[in-house]
Symmetry: C2
Subunit: 120 residues, 2 copies
C-alpha cells in the first residue's frame, strides 16, 4: 500500500523545534518537516544540497555574502559547501528535502545535533 | 548568488499542461512544476522514485490496486517500478521532485513525452 502525506496533519503531531521529523523517502533522500524559532548556528553540509520550503511564516536565511527572506510558498536550495544560518523571528514551519546522509548541524557538532531523526 | 523560488510566481509564467518546468536542482534531482488536467497514461519509472506535491486542486492517483486522492498540501511518493496514472478532473498544480534522468512518460514513449524539460 502506498500512502499519501498531509503536511498540516503531520505538523500537528509535534511541537519541538529544530528537530526534523521524517515524513517520506525517495531516491536516497528524506522529506522532513521541522518547526524552528530563533537562530540556529552557522554550518554547511560537505556533500549535500538542501532544500527549504516555507510552509508557514518567513525564514531569514543568512549566507556569507547575502541574506534571503524566504516567505510562505517559497523555497531556497543551499548547495553543498555553502555556509548558512537559518533565523526565524517567529515560528516557521519548513519542509526539507535532503540526502539521508545529511546531519542537521552539518559540519558542526552541538547540543542541537540530531543523529537519528524520527519518522512521524 | 543564491536565489529563492516563489512557486506561485513561477506557476504564473506558463499555461501549457503536462509539460513540467524545472525550477530547481539538488543532488542530481530536479524540482519541477507542472499543470495538469484530464487523464495521463499508465506508466512507470524503472529507476526513479517520484514525489507529487499538490499545490492547487486535487489529483487522483490511480495505482494497480488502489486509488489515492491527493489534496492541496498533500504529497505522495511513487516508488520506482510502480505503475501509476495521474488524473485531474479540474486543473491541478503540482510540484514534482525526481531524479534528472526521469522521463515524464516513464517507460512509454508517446506524443506527451518531453525529452528536455525547460527551466523557467
Amino acid at each position: 500500500m502506498i500512502s499519501k502525506v498531509n503536511l498540516k496533519e503531520k505538523l500537528s503531531l509535534f511541537d519541538d523545534r529544530w528537530s526534523p521529523k521524517i515524513v517520506g523517502e525517495l531516491n536516497d533522500s528524506y522529506v522532513k518537516l521541522v518547526k524552528v524559532k530563533g537562530e540556529f548556528h552557522w554550518h554547511h553540509h560537505a556533500n549535500e544540497d538542501e532544500l527549504f520550503l516555507v510552509l508557514k511564516g518567513r525564514l531569514l536565511m543568512k549566507l556569507q555574502y547575502q541574506e534571503l527572506w524566504i516567505e510562505e510558498g517559497e523555497f531556497v536550495i543551499i548547495p553543498k559547501g555553502v555556509e548558512h544560518l537559518p533565523v526565524a523571528e517567529e515560528e516557521v514551519h519548513l519542509m526539507l528535502l535532503e540526502p539521508k546522509s545529511t546531519l542537521n548541524t552539518g559540519n558542526v557538532r552541538s547540543e542541537r545535533t540530531i543523529d537519528n531523526p524520527a519518522w512521524i
